[in-house]
Amino acid sequence: MSQGNGQYGSTLPFAAWGGAFTPAELDRIEAYGDGLTTAKATVAGDAPQGKEDDASRISRTAWIARNAETDWFYVRMERIARTLNDQLWQFSISGFSELFQYTIYNGQEQAYFDWHVDQGFVEVPRKLSFSLQLSHGSQYEGCDLQFHAGRLVETAPRERGVVIAFPSYVLHRVTPITSGTRKSVVIWITGPKFK
């Protein structure tokens, strides 16, 4: 595992790790995700099972189960997560209590996900969130992953293969996609609630 670009400046609310996956590995993840049926995403809210809520989110998601075909991906992500956590946050983390979420933003649907935090509506607290960029930044317009932890909004790198990591309490969004398709995998590592 190479660290590539490593983390961005420590004052940013997120870290970015390039080069954690080879192009062939990214192709493999993408092919697996595309093979899953993607449902229109729900946003956790009033309804116990979540609700479709176009006001805050339009995207398509599928869940990547842990199995013989995907185990290597879970193992790799856990190493990335633990390494970044050891270096930057030292949060108490347990592991992946949720499946990885394969997420597609489609230009024709003008998909987006408005400002939100990843905490709050799940039984096992999410501590760190990760987004793996699967599409080349040149394959779509808009669809920036952005963070708001200060006066300025910060934009995450778009390069294919970059893992972006952030504490799950940080406010973030995905801006509307205006053309093309952006694919990503969203991962949460959970643990005891913040102390």
């Binding site: 408005d114 939100h116 935090v117 709050g120 006066r151 300025l152």
Partner: protein, 195 residues
Amino acid sequence: MTEENRLAMLTFNAWADAFTPAEIDRIVADGDSLMPERVQLAGTAPGDHVAAAERLRITHTAWIDRNPDTLWLCARMQAVAQSLNDQTYQYDLRGFSENFQYTVYHGNEGGHYDWHVDHGPLPAPRKLSMTVQLTDPSQYQGCNLEFCAGGNVEIAPRDRGTVVAFPSYVLHRVTPITAGVRKSLVVWTTGPKFR
């Protein structure tokens, strides 16, 4: 967890009438006697020639230290913090490692404090922030303490004597004051970094 509790976890918790009117008068008299100094933070465009609205922050502040006259105030804030922490957050808190900040917003100079979070690269990180409302809401316009954790911006109660508490990582701001003067006391509870 109730919906109300969830919201409190994500944004703020309010404790009405934490102080009597006489006690508030005493805090205001103490704070005013310290002659709060103007604090102006440029934010994105440094220099003196920045329009008021462009600045990150325009306030007057003074620091209330721990002394025989203010022990009662420290004790009260300690009790409020501990109760709220026991009820809602269960953070590992160790006390106040910074003085209390007496903060005044003036309507005639566009006082405000744009979006920010309170934790910083400190040896004792801020974990639970508290604001005491010291001015009757009829005495000023604007100057709302607001929170954003996605969805709607939440406005804190303005009532005099209310303590508004929130995790220091939650994005918040004070909107521009358009008339009158708003006085407040800002207190940070610190402890080992979140884990």
